[in-house]
Symmetry: C2
Subunit: 226 residues, 2 copies
DNA sequence: GTTTGAAATATTGTCGCCAATTTCGGCGAG
DNA sequence: CTCGCCGAAATTGGCGACAATATTTCAAAC
């Protein structure tokens, strides 16, 4: 781990995997040890993470892992609602038979996950379905923004899939989206995607107050001060 | 000009004002002279500009002013179409009587600018109207993205207002948007904004090949190599 | 005259050092 | 016992120097 890009990716992954407590301070020398790199590489990575909305930086106080309050999570999802509506519509215009087969394959996996109650594998398939729709849409600008926003939501997203009954509701919505894409109906695809994400927003609104959850990843109790 | 934030702002403004030729190389020491600062400040500013999509950076080759090809300008505008639709809808939900008076005031200025053929002042009023709608919507996430995208388009945007007959078409569309906001009709406001920006996209598509325009700002012939 | 190669120059990448600022710990006064 | 103040440690901010890489220039051979 000598070059700068690798440190950036490793640090971003660590944050996304929840390996830092929310609000945790990112001390430069500690990160140097963690990633076996020079301070220079860490200092280069932080502005990038700042621009991605993953950390908060204050002058002379360094960077902290940014916590997205629930209000902002809702705003972010409202934006995603519009942009994923755009990608769904474009996907409906552009999907090839092979694309549609791939979409239906994922739908099959989702059905299986729901019927056998596998939450994690449902959540995975869900992410893959949305990613595939973006790829079919081939809209770089929208895709870039959606993925950046998605990264900020990882923690909330995780809690969502645990809401009882949500997967089966969500499955039906995805089936409608795929059907619209299959039928080359952009307006219906957009509408279906918007309805789907509207229900995500409603679930977010009903989520209990944050701060009392555990990520599945190894989160070795991190001290905030030393 | 000692501190870093000021250099960032100055450099961004210089790019947005078109004071650098498209594709122009941004040599660090030259910028140090230009802004009377240390190389350190310039190096801190560049990653931020990169994240804003205003420059392109290649390893060992430095930063260049990024040129947005017309295809990407269209993609960006498609995204803006969705997000400004969102802000228009929210504005329709939230606008106070004072807000509506302010909107109508700007519409009045636009009418005057159209009837007297003042292109620049129409373009100004146009920008102010969209900005006011964003402020009324009070949607930080959407506003942040819209403004970042807008910055990337300054050059194309400028050419648009020169298309003959466009201002009067555009004026009618803005009147419809404001009427919907005034009537507290979110769906109609969104639809009106989408139609408006759809017509912007069509104008972009019909724009002649780029590269043969001059900005009004002082653009002292910059050498690309020395 | 054109092309190829290598030396020279220009430019960015990386580092270690010191300064500025914040944060932590203890001491004393009330 | 609590609160506020002051010094010490920790941490980030900024800089100059040097290394690595790219670009240009110039000369020589074809």
């Amino acid at each position: 781990m000598a070059d700068e890009g690798a440190v950036l990716d490793a640090l971003r992954d660590a944050i996304l995997q929840g390996e830092f407590v929310a609000g945790q301070r990112l001390v430069e020398v500690d990160l140097c040890e963690r990633f076996a790199c020079r301070r220079f590489a860490v200092r280069a990575a932080i502005p990038v993470l700042l621009s991605e909305g993953l950390v908060d930086v204050q002058r002379h106080r360094g960077a902290r892992v940014r916590t997205i309050p629930i209000d902002e999570a809702i705003e972010i999802t409202e934006v995603r609602r519009m942009l994923e509506g755009l990608t769904a519509a474009r996907a409906a215009e552009r999907a090839t038979p092979a694309d549609i087969a791939a979409l239906q394959d994922i739908i099959g996996q989702m059905r299986h996950a729901v019927s056998s109650g596998e939450l994690v594998s449902y959540s995975d398939a869900n992410a893959r379905l949305h990613a595939l729709i973006r790829r079919i849409a081939a809209h770089e600008t929208a895709t870039g923004i959606i993925e950046r926003l998605r990264a900020q939501l990882v923690r909330h997203q995780f809690r969502l899939s645990l809401v009882p009954g949500r997967p089966s509701v969500s499955l039906a919505q995805h089936e409608r989206i795929v059907a619209a894409i299959e039928g080359n109906d952009p307006a219906e695809a957009e509408s279906a995607m918007r309805d789907h994400i509207t229900s995500v927003i409603e679930s977010l609104r009903s989520l209990p107050a944050e701060g009392s959850h555990r990520t599945g990843a190894a989160a070795p109790l991190q001290r905030t001060r030393r």
